[in-house]
Symmetry: C2
Subunit: 340 residues, 2 copies
């Protein structure tokens, strides 16, 4: 009950501790009959290898580091879940490490993390995927890492991404096909390059439909609800106000809707609003928000998978994985009203 070390198992199975080690670590070159004996002993004693000892002796920790700096709790939780699920299945643990991407000492912080905990690999999530101070450190330290939705130096490490621009393009196109011509856009935080790239999709759809890009209709947002409110105040007070507003994330879209409600603008009759991310607020808000769902958990799983593969020595081909986002049609968008 108390303990059960590898020695106990070896004694019970009548083999050396090295053989037990081989079996436990699924190494090849152990006769099947020996393997069975050992497994039986392991089961009988309910043996669990001591991770500290293993880590010390093997010079690896069986722990992955997950770095993030994302104000969206839902995003973080989804990533954590994806990473944890995959890690657990492979006997790895996860060390979560929230940090501040604007901290000038972020590079040193990452160095410390690596040196002290001896984690075996690192997973970077946006916006950290594009922080060059971190990338430098990781490159130098030779520690394997993967990134989720990077936009910079994509050849640096394996990564996973989603077709953000394409989904934004689809969403814009859909608004256009509903008859909207003046479509406002609230862009994402410039530090979150993946988010800000959604603008490209918006622009592409306009171009394709021969609608001129009106600079007045594009407002810089910062991913927060409040910045969505500010943007809406600008957009909805324009002399020729848009009949639709596409915000680069749901929080900002919620901000837009709040302002519209306060101004007595009916959604979607007078104004269509679209978001991006499909956070819980999207379906809790009234009217429920048309948005884009990203496969966050799947991306995290895939990324972890790539990292673990790399750790197992299997070389991972760089061209990475692309998972696709999907449009979620809800009640905040509708046909454009009569032109004003």
């Amino acid at each position: 009950m108390t303990k059960a070390t590898i020695d106990n198992v070896a004694a019970l199975a009548g083999v050396s501790i090295k053989t037990v080690s081989r079996v436990v670590n699924k190494e090849p070159n152990v006769r099947q009959s020996t393997r069975d004996k050992v497994l039986k002993a392991v089961a009988e004693l309910d043996y669990r290898p001591n991770l500290s000892a293993r880590s010390l002796a093997g010079n690896r920790s069986y722990v992955l580091g997950l770095l993030y700096d994302n104000p969206s709790a839902n995003y973080v939780i989804d990533v954590q879940d994806g990473v944890l699920t995959t890690c657990r299945a492979q006997g790895y643990d996860v060390l979560i490490h929230p940090c501040n991407h604007q901290d000038p000492d972020i590079g040193k912080e990452v160095t410390n993390l690596i040196r002290q905990t001896r984690i075996d690999g690192i997973i970077l999530t946006p916006p950290l995927s594009d922080v060059s101070a971190i990338l430098e450190v990781l490159k130098d330290s030779r520690i394997p890492f993967v990134r989720i939705a990077p936009t910079l130096q994509k050849d640096l490490c394996p990564y996973v991404e989603t077709n953000d621009a394409e989904a934004a393009y689809d969403m814009t196109n859909q608004l256009i096909s509903l008859g909207h011509r003046r479509i406002g856009f609230v862009s994402g935080h410039p530090d979150h390059r993946a988010v800000s790239h959604r603008f490209e999709g918006y622009r592409a759809a306009l171009v394709e439909n021969h609608i001129e890009l009106d600079d007045d209709l594009v407002v810089q947002g910062y991913n927060s609800f409040e910045s969505g409110e500010e943007a809406a105040n600008t957009l909805l007070n324009l002399s020729a106000r848009p009949s639709a507003i596409f915000a680069a994330n749901d929080d900002m879209a919620a901000g837009v809707m709040m302002v519209a409600h306060q101004m007595g603008i009916d959604i979607p009759r007078e104004l269509s609003v679209a978001g991006y991310d499909d956070t819980p607020v999207a379906h809790q808000i009234w009217p429920s928000l048309t948005t884009v769902r990203q496969p966050i958990q799947a991306m995290a799983q895939k990324a972890t998978d790539l990292l673990l593969k790399q750790l197992m020595g299997k070389e991972v081909q760089l061209p990475a994985s692309m998972l696709s986002s999907s449009l979620i049609q809800r009640d905040s968008t509708g046909p454009a009203g009569p032109a004003r």
Copy 2:
């Protein structure tokens, strides 16, 4: 750059490794001049103790386990932040372990966790704080632990709680003072005993104001947005419908508001709605939600603190900590309209 072990530091400082160990671990009985020498060497080599080695030799891991099973991403993130902040300050790491409180094997799962990772202590959050299978295991394993907002066997371990019932009482009282007499209540998930205790506050306020508790006005919810919608469907279709609804959490309150909107009921003119938790949705929704803010992060910090104190050998007095929640007045509540 590469490494730097305790031996290197000892050599550079001209002392034994044991002395370095003493200094690094802030043990007493080291002459100040010696301490300085060692610290200088530590700084010069940028030495970081290897946690695996320390853990193996010292029979402790410097890692705390954080167990949770909470569908609210915001709650979990807040707890994580609180725990992490406190742990980092003390040189501890955190192993997060989401799990399912209804899993019949939850006890075994916790046993495995303890056996394998040799974590030094455990932090339990609701609803896990009240899962007796876990409590049994922890009691037997003699591993120190703390609980956040427990309601069962409170003498089992140190804990932190907030004055839930009192805040619910205040909220109800406020609705009453706004003139509401028929106040609906959407109760929390029965497994989340702390949440379901909020009902006590509601009842107490009614009693004190000589308002009879009407069973029709109390509907069982399950903490989810959808259960809030269902409850609202029941309550708002009552022949004598309530002029206010108090939901035991914000998600359910949002569900209530959704149904009200769909039925064309104006909030707060025709119906006041109050929630509990002050999740982000509370201020992103329209109209913004009157609710109660819990000091989640502070509770997590306090709990971690208690646990760490316990680990340092300082005995913690049981009577635990009570942190108080505060009422957040927003736009979803207002004076009761003319009686109908």
